[in-house]
């Protein structure tokens, strides 16, 4: 065949395939990499038990996923965005602008965030105050804010191991970092009194702005290499811990449960993180996980309704289901979620 004939036939093939680009029959899911393993477990079981194709699940981050969800309505947009933090007003506005009027909010359960160190290393019993004193940029000392100069855990709290401070925390692009900031750093900031000092000198028009400024000041971590942001995922944190056995890393509960032979978990406020302690609300560092469904696609994309119902069913998201097995803390109000999904109730305005 001459190149010209080849070109012509290639273009013909291309044209033929382009005209075929219609009628998607599998569900497209994107979003949080924390929710990704849970979504793949459900997708796989869904493919096994239903006569629908297995949904295609992508990672890429909560924020990016919600943005993709809000790109518009139609077959070349995604159906579901997984998210490890709640949808924001700006996302909802973007959705509205692009014609995505109704969104279903589905809370699938809770995820614990744990501190862990090398399995052969020392035991850590941390409190948010300890973590703040170790990582905060400025700490309260004799009623004044001073630069953080502590180098050893013993300087932070005499009960902690005599080891150099080094923590691997999730980078700012991760949803996990948000929880770490609010539930650990800000809590510790308040417990140590630094928050009040920040608030006293915060500038702002009203009380609300001042509080926001103080919280922001709390989250300014030290920059002398004691706190290291990890932009990759937990496998990278694990590799860094392996290289530096004295360090402490931040992980998701599920990741820790799959690697208990390499990691030793730290208690927070004396509570060992586990599915039980988190569901009872004893362990402080946890957050809800969500997915958001484009209502306009229900009934258009085959199997979408069945998939979300299957996801929140007791067989999957219940306390005995495979998701709990993998490390998801089952939602005590799962029944309400199931009812909302069955009735296809779209989410109201954010409070």
């Amino acid at each position: 065949m001459t190149p010209i004939k080849l070109t012509v036939s290639a273009l013909a093939v291309l044209a033929a395939t382009t005209s075929l680009a219609a009628a998607r029959d599998q569900i497209q899911i994107t979003g949080s990499s924390t929710v990704l393993p849970y979504a793949t477990i459900v997708a796989e079981a869904f493919g096994e038990n239903f006569d629908f194709p297995t949904p295609v699940v992508e990672g890429g981050g909560s924020g990016a996923g919600r943005k993709k969800l809000c790109e518009g309505v139609g077959e070349n947009t995604v159906d579901i965005a997984n998210s490890s933090s709640r949808i924001s007003q700006s996302d909802i506005d973007l959705c509205k602008k692009n014609g995505v009027e109704e969104i279903l909010e589905v809370r699938i359960g809770y995820d614990g965030i744990v501190f862990a160190s090398d399995v052969k290393g020392a035991d850590f019993a941390l409190t948010p105050a300890d973590v703040y004193l170790a990582l905060g940029g400025k700490v309260a000392k004799d009623g004044a804010l001073v630069d953080n100069t502590s180098t050893k855990w013993t300087e932070v709290n005499a009960a902690l191991p005599d080891q150099n401070i080094l923590m691997f925390i999730p980078g700012t692009k991760h949803g996990t970092r948000e929880v770490f900031d609010t539930k650990v750093i800000e809590a510790g900031c308040k417990d140590t009194g630094a928050y009040d000092l920040f608030l006293a000198k915060a500038e702002g028009a009203d009380e609300k702005e001042k509080k926001a400024a103080a919280a922001k000041a709390c989250n300014e971590l030290r920059k002398d290499g004691k706190s290291v942001d990890i932009d990759g995922d937990y496998t990278e944190t694990l590799a860094r811990l392996d290289a530096d056995k004295n360090a402490v890393g931040v992980f998701g509960l599920a990741f820790y449960q799959n690697n208990t032979d390499k990691l030793k978990v730290a208690t927070v406020n004396g509570v060992v993180p586990s599915v039980e302690t988190i569901s009872k609300g004893e362990y402080p560092v946890s957050r809800p996980l969500y997915f958001y469904v484009k209502k306009a696609h229900i009934g258009v994309i085959p199997g979408l309704k069945e998939y979300i119902e299957f996801f929140v069913s007791d067989d999957m998201a219940g306390p005995e289901g495979p998701l709990a097995d993998y490390g998801l803390v089952s939602d005590p109000e799962l029944k309400a979620t199931q009812d909302a999904v069955a009735a296809e109730t779209p989410m109201g305005a954010l409070e």
Partner: protein, 450 residues
């Protein structure tokens, strides 16, 4: 270098003959020896880095080609699998994998009792954990495909759980199991007893090449089937799109285009395009092919279009070089006997340049095969469990690619996926080796020198 003195003065007497080395010559020789040594050191360093890389990859990845399996007869209990008893597929699909898991565990326990294997120190859950979570789904598909199996006892070989598989391969030890929340040493001792009884054993794992991906809870079932198929589809499409366009562009530029500022500009741009980082093409692909043209995301067609953009400059450069290597005398001779320009090109120049073009294309494809970055943006880094359909429709189905599978397995939390990831690298290296060897053979066999 000393040059002969040009003055009238007599040359300074040198000691010895030319056979006896002067200090200067000795210095030259020493520096040459040193230079050779540097070269050898450089080669040794690169080879040892390669060796370390290959040893790590093969050491970690070899295990993926072996898989622990449990072999025992399974009695397909009609009461569980077909409660209505009419063997209708429509009725039987209501029984989920939970029901099939029950059947498997019952049969497994029955086999243990029949063979007299001690299970005193194990709970029911411990025993059930030995069987992979993938097994019920496999059994269900098998039964639904042939409903007459219900009520019979069939021999089954099912996957063992990931930790048991790791134990047989030495990744999981009694020591690590004591700390591991997913397995306990009693289960490992039980696995040893099963191994002695011949129920549990390592087998060759063809499924690694044919199975689709699996979720985080079943590393033992994960395979490269979808990724290999996706990569194959992409390579076919890339070849179909790149070769005609690339060859046509090269022929025009080499044989017909006037040499002026415009063609110079094009040449510079083609060379630049070949050096653009591939992620840029991914961003372009997302904007143009998915958002503008509305092609389905995660499909091998979009992947191939994006990778074609990256491969095209390589193909053009290689093709132009091999067309230029055809001596002008051949063109002159053809034109001299009255051939037209086009006849000259298609009857004489192109056939002689063909081996070079093929080699260049294959090498371009080999680079494209390993490209991951652009695929990140067009949704091919995803969990895809269904095989893409047959061409041409299949080009639009979601698929993944080999390098993407390496990446997504490397980020999973279960340590068993590290082995899978390295196994996938071995497969990828295998494909690259085949392509590069093909390029060398083609060049050796068909290349002509003038």
């Amino acid at each position: 270098m000393t040059s002969a003195p040009m003055t009238g003065k007599p040359a300074p007497v040198r000691s010895g003959s030319i056979l006896a080395p002067t200090p200067h010559m000795l210095r030259r020789r020493r520096s040459e020896t040193r230079f050779r040594l540097y070269g050898i050191v450089a080669i040794v360093i690169s080879l040892s880095i390669l060796a370390v890389m290959l040893v790590t990859i093969f050491g970690n990845g070899y295990g993926a080609f072996r898989q622990a399996k449990l072999t025992f007869p399974v009695t397909l209990d009609a009461q569980v699998l077909d409660p209505k008893g009419n063997r209708q597929r429509e009725e039987m699909v209501k029984v989920t994998t939970v029901g099939y898991a029950k059947v498997l565990t019952q049969s497994f326990r029955a086999e243990l009792t029949a063979r007299g294997i001690d299970t005193a120190d194990l709970s029911d859950k411990d025993i059930a954990a030995l069987v992979s979570k993938d097994a019920p789904g496999v059994l269900r598909a098998q039964v639904l495909a042939d409903t007459s199996l219900v009520g019979q006892t069939i021999p089954m070989s099912v996957l063992a759980g990931g930790r048991i598989d790791g134990f047989l391969k030495g990744r999981v030890t009694m020591e690590s199991a004591r700390l591991d929340s997913n397995i306990n040493p009693e289960q490992l001792q039980f696995a040893e007893r099963l191994q002695q009884a011949g129920i549990l054993g390592l087998h060759w794992n063809v499924a690694f090449l044919t199975n689709p991906d699996a979720s985080d809870q079943r590393p033992e079932a994960a395979g490269l089937g979808v990724a290999i198929l996706g990569s194959l589809y992409m390579m076919i499409l890339v070849a179909v799109m790149c070769v005609p366009v690339g060859v046509a562009a090269s022929i025009y530029l080499e044989e017909f285009a006037p040499k002026n500022r415009w063609t110079d500009l094009i040449e510079v741009n083609v060379a630049n395009l070949a050096a653009v980082p591939s992620i840029v093409f991914g961003i372009l692909g997302l904007a143009v092919f998915i958002n503008f043209a509305g092609l389905p995301q995660s499909s091998s067609l979009v992947g191939a279009l994006v990778i074609s953009l990256r491969t095209l400059p390589t193909v053009i450069i290689a093709t132009r070089a091999s067309i230029r290597a055809v001596p002008p005398s051949i063109r002159d001779a053809a034109l001299g006997v009255g051939a037209s320009r086009m006849q000259t090109v298609f009857h004489h120049v192109l056939p002689l340049a063909m081996p070079g073009i093929l080699t260049g294309t294959i090498l371009g494809l080999a680079v494209a095969l390993g490209d991951t970055a652009p695929l990140l943006l067009i949704g091919m880094v995803a969990f895809v469990d269904n095989y893409p359909g047959t061409p041409v429709d299949g080009f639009l189905d979601p698929a993944t690619a080999l390098p993407v599978q390496v990446y997504s397995w490397a980020t999973r939390s279960d340590p068993a996926f590290i082995e899978r990831s390295n196994g996938a690298i071995i497969v990828l290296l295998g494909f690259l080796l085949v392509m590069n060897v093909a390029a060398i053979i083609l060049r050796r066999r068909f290349e002509r020198r003038w």
